[in-house]
């Protein structure tokens, strides 16, 4: 009698944690049928850097620079959220001029990040000439950043209670020169990304995240806005000076009149946000009142106040990838925080990968994965080790440990 062979038609395709196509370590396990993805599982935890632990052994001024290094691209958003958490805990009023300067720095960072992403997205579909075009534009913005802050990437410009450098009339010519350059080139960029056949073929109808899924999985940033969810900390909380600047949620229907939630829509949202950021910077420069840069010029006084503080604070900021949240708690005994927690936006944008990738083809994996603009190292907050092996917690264990930790912190 002939034995019947297995009827299984799918096969497994592991990608990662280290793989030439991945820029950071993350592990995908795909269940593939032919070329089509049937199921996907994502696991993280390969790049734990113990940043929070390091921060708990430093004072708040030192942590600003550590927070900057959580993510090389969001090197304003992370310190911004941290500083706002400290200001929240210690009750520091920030001068109005400083709030406007913060907006300018945040928006410059957003322009850099979105242009960089546009280049990476083009690279992922094999369109490398566009990569070089976008990075040429980004270079101009980096030059401006260097001119305004003294550094190109880790700007070291924010401080507790304000900002460290002013923008004066002398800076205006160079700022407007760069902004005009961006505006001139924006249409070219939009034309290439939105009208080019290559882009349309690869991105339309690909990696769809439906409105309900985006809501349910708590996606943040451009990823969720491209699915039509109106979520943006700048608008919802109007922190810094955003409240004065008349800012709206950017969703793809502003341009096309419809929301599909595909990769194409994510491109639209990011491109429109570049334009919005340029306008915000112009408005901020125009409306900026005169006044102090910091609430308290003596750093040591701030550190002394923090040392006396017994309390907690939460800071939220809209990074280019979505909302970042920092939580700090001081126990009134030391100038080091008693605890410091960071929630990077990619953390929320990991799970949406699953509905996006299901049903797609293998060749679409890079562009779909890149379309949320993931930053894996920023996301990693915990690594569980048993002996020398990585060890996975199940839901109940994780829940129990979280409750225990929260209780410990509340004491």
């Amino acid at each position: 009698m002939k034995e019947k062979t297995t009827s299984k038609t799918t096969y497994q395709l592991p990608i990662g944690p280290i793989h030439p196509a991945l820029k950071e370590p993350v592990m995908f396990e795909f269940e593939i049928d032919g070329e089509r993805i049937v199921d996907v599982d994502v696991s993280l935890g390969h790049v734990h850097r113990a940043i929070e632990w390091t921060g708990m052994r430093r004072n708040s001024i030192q942590i600003i620079y550590l927070a900057e290094r959580i993510c090389g691209i969001c090197s304003i958003s992370h310190p911004m959220a941290f500083i706002r958490a400290v200001e929240n805990a210690v009750d520091i009023e920030v001068p109005e001029r400083a709030e406007y300067l913060r907006v300018i720095q945040c928006e410059l960072e957003r322009i850099c990040s979105h242009i960089l992403w546009a280049g990476v997205a083009a690279h992922e579909i094999g369109f490398d000439t566009v990569l070089f075009l976008t990075w040429q534009m980004r270079e101009k913005v980096l030059d401006l950043t260097e001119y305004l802050t003294g550094n190109r990437i880790t700007k070291a410009i924010l401080t507790i209670g304000g900002v460290r450098r002013d923008i004066t009339k002398d800076h205006h010519p160079k700022i407007f020169e760069t902004l005009n350059y961006l505006k001139d080139n924006f249409d070219k960029l939009r034309h290439i990304f939105l009208d080019d056949k290559t882009f349309q073929l690869r991105s339309q109808g690909c990696g769809i995240l439906r409105y309900e899924d985006a809501l349910k999985l708590c996606a943040v940033g451009p990823t969720t806005r491209a699915s039509g969810v109106k979520k943006d900390v700048r608008v919802d909380q109007s922190y810094a000076a955003y409240g004065d600047l008349d800012i709206k949620h950017i969703t793809p229907d502003l341009l096309t009149g419809q929301v599909n939630g595909d990769v194409y829509d994510r491109i639209i949202v990011r491109l429109l946000e570049i334009k919005q950021s340029v306008e915000l910077i112009e408005k901020a420069i125009d409306q900026m009142p005169s006044g102090d840069l910091v609430s308290e010029p003596k750093i040591l006084k701030i550190l002394a106040t923090i040392k006396k503080t017994n309390g907690e604070g939460v800071g939220r900021a809209e990074a280019p990838r979505g909302e970042v949240i920092h939580y700090v708690k001081f126990n009134g005994e030391s100038e080091h925080p008693y605890t410091w927690k960071v929630r990077a936006p990619t953390y929320n944008n990991i799970l949406p990968w699953i509905p996006m990738l299901k049903g797609e083809q293998i060749a679409d994996i890079p562009i779909v994965a890149a379309s949320t603009d993931p930053c894996i190292s920023c996301t990693n907050r915990v690594a569980v080790i048993d002996g020398n092996n990585n060890y996975e917690l199940n839901k109940e264990e994780l829940h129990r440990l979280s409750v225990e930790k929260t209780r410990r912190l509340m004491k």
Binding site: I61, Y65, T129, L133, E146, N151, A156, R165, D196, L300
Partner: protein, 133 residues
């Protein structure tokens, strides 16, 4: 247009490259030897792109003005500053410095400032060029 990138690519072919070929047009076989030659006047160096005003480069330390108050040690995020107990002066290890300029801001006697030197790569982290004292 279907292939909107093509005109740009063709235009680019007739433009000069953006890259500033510092320090020489082609990589010299030995950089040290090249700089020696430059010193001796035998080779010519292509100058680097100028740093903007307010650039945060190698720290300048005015030892005379320093009072040894140790405030800079307290705020330095990377622990790049060491205190020399005997002399009551400081020593900055640039290999650790993150160029945040926080020590400049905190110093009460204004003896620290950021210079505009940025060629600080070195194989030895304790080399003389990387220690400011």
């Amino acid at each position: 247009m279907r292939f909107s990138m093509l005109p740009k690519v063709f235009a680019q072919m007739f433009k000069k490259p953006w890259t500033n070929k510092f320090p020489a047009k082609y990589i010299p076989p030995s950089t040290t030897k090249f700089f020696e030659d430059v010193g001796a006047g035998k080779a010519k160096i292509i100058p680097a792109v100028e740093t903007p005003e307010g650039f945060r480069g190698k720290i300048q330390y005015d030892k005379e003005k320093c009072t040894g108050c140790k405030l800079c040690l307290r705020v330095c995020p990377s622990g790049a500053i060491e205190f020399k107990e005997k002399e009551k002066k400081i020593k900055i290890y640039l290999a650790r410095c993150t160029f945040c300029s926080q020590c400049n801001d905190v110093c009460p006697s204004n003896c620290l400032s950021m210079g505009n030197e940025f060629l600080l790569a070195d194989a030895d982290i304790y080399s003389k060029d990387l220690i400011v004292e």
